[in-house]
């Protein structure tokens, strides 16, 4: 394989933007799930399509947030190198929190 020159090398910014935004999107899915279950008005507001209930709003809003953040970070980090290792660690923490908040025993807790 021909050696890759420095000018051929792609910077890590766009990949980091994809990772961090999916981390935030995952956390958002968890937060919206938790809030929809525990705050009646939010649960009602997220009912975007009645036959499927507020699952549509929780997921829809998380997807919008994920995509908007991906575009913003993608533009901000275009052509730049960022510390991918650190972004990856933060992403994993955010995804884990998202997973936890969508676990029934967690989001069905009453406060």
């Amino acid at each position: 394989m021909a050696a890759m020159t420095e000018s051929d090398r792609k910077p890590s910014g766009p990949a980091a933007a994809a990772l961090l935004s999916v981390g935030v999107g995952s956390l958002a899915l968890g937060v919206f799930t938790f809030l929809a279950e525990n705050v009646k008005s939010i649960g009602k507001a997220l009912n975007w399509y009645h036959p499927a209930g507020n699952l549509t709003g929780k997921t829809g809003l998380a997807i919008i947030l994920w995509l908007v953040l991906w575009v913003i970070l993608g533009k901000a980090w275009q052509g730049k190198d960022v510390e991918l290792g650190r972004i990856y660690t933060v992403t994993l923490v955010l995804i884990t929190m998202g997973f936890l908040l969508t676990f029934p025993i967690v989001f069905q807790m009453r406060f």
Partner: protein
């Protein structure tokens, strides 16, 4: 031998596209694991990475189709208010209520992680292209995020199968 419209959609959602995502996972994971400088050399690199990228984008598309058909086609039948819906039947019996309270509640939410995570992993592979062979951190990140997508899909798939056995969508 016949299937109702609802049964047909349930099969398409779970046993066709949902299962396709799960069985395709090992192909993607093996491809990512193989992208190491000591294992992959020469002009074939570009083709191998392009093939892997296409594989992962296809898997992401399959994950999106699975959750969209699940949420917007099958789920409304599952949760319908009438007493014969699967949700009503499960909740009517204390012995089966937990299938809904825990199983369906987890399944319907966790499934949505799969397309998000699979899309992000596919993007990282596509973005770097053959450079991914040299990018250990990015490769590892794509692999872990992709594996988490599989975990989410597997939880949803397993509970989907059990729920459809406990209270089929008809």
């Amino acid at each position: 031998m016949s299937l109702t419209v609802r049964e047909t959609w349930t099969v398409i959602h779970g046993m066709v596209i949902g299962a396709l995502f799960l069985v395709s996972f090992t192909g993607g994971l093996f491809g990512l694991l193989s992208l190491k400088p000591e294992l992959i050399t020469g002009e074939g690199t570009r083709k191998i990475v392009a093939r892997l990228s296409n594989w992962m984008w296809t898997m992401a598309a399959i994950a999106w189709l699975t959750v969209i058909t699940g949420t917007y086609v099958v789920y409304p039948w599952y949760r319908a208010a009438d007493p014969s819906s699967p949700r009503s039947l499960l909740l009517a019996n204390p012995a089966t209520a937990e299938w809904h309270e825990f199983g369906m509640e987890w399944k319907e939410h966790v499934a949505w992680f799969a397309p998000l995570l699979a899309t992000a992993a596919a993007y990282v592979v596509w973005y770097y292209g053959k450079q991914l062979v040299q990018e250990e951190k990015a490769r590892k990140a794509a692999m872990v995020v992709f594996s988490l997508a599989f975990f989410a899909a597997a939880v949803a798939g397993i509970f989907g199968a059990f729920l459809n056995k406990a209270a089929p969508t008809r």
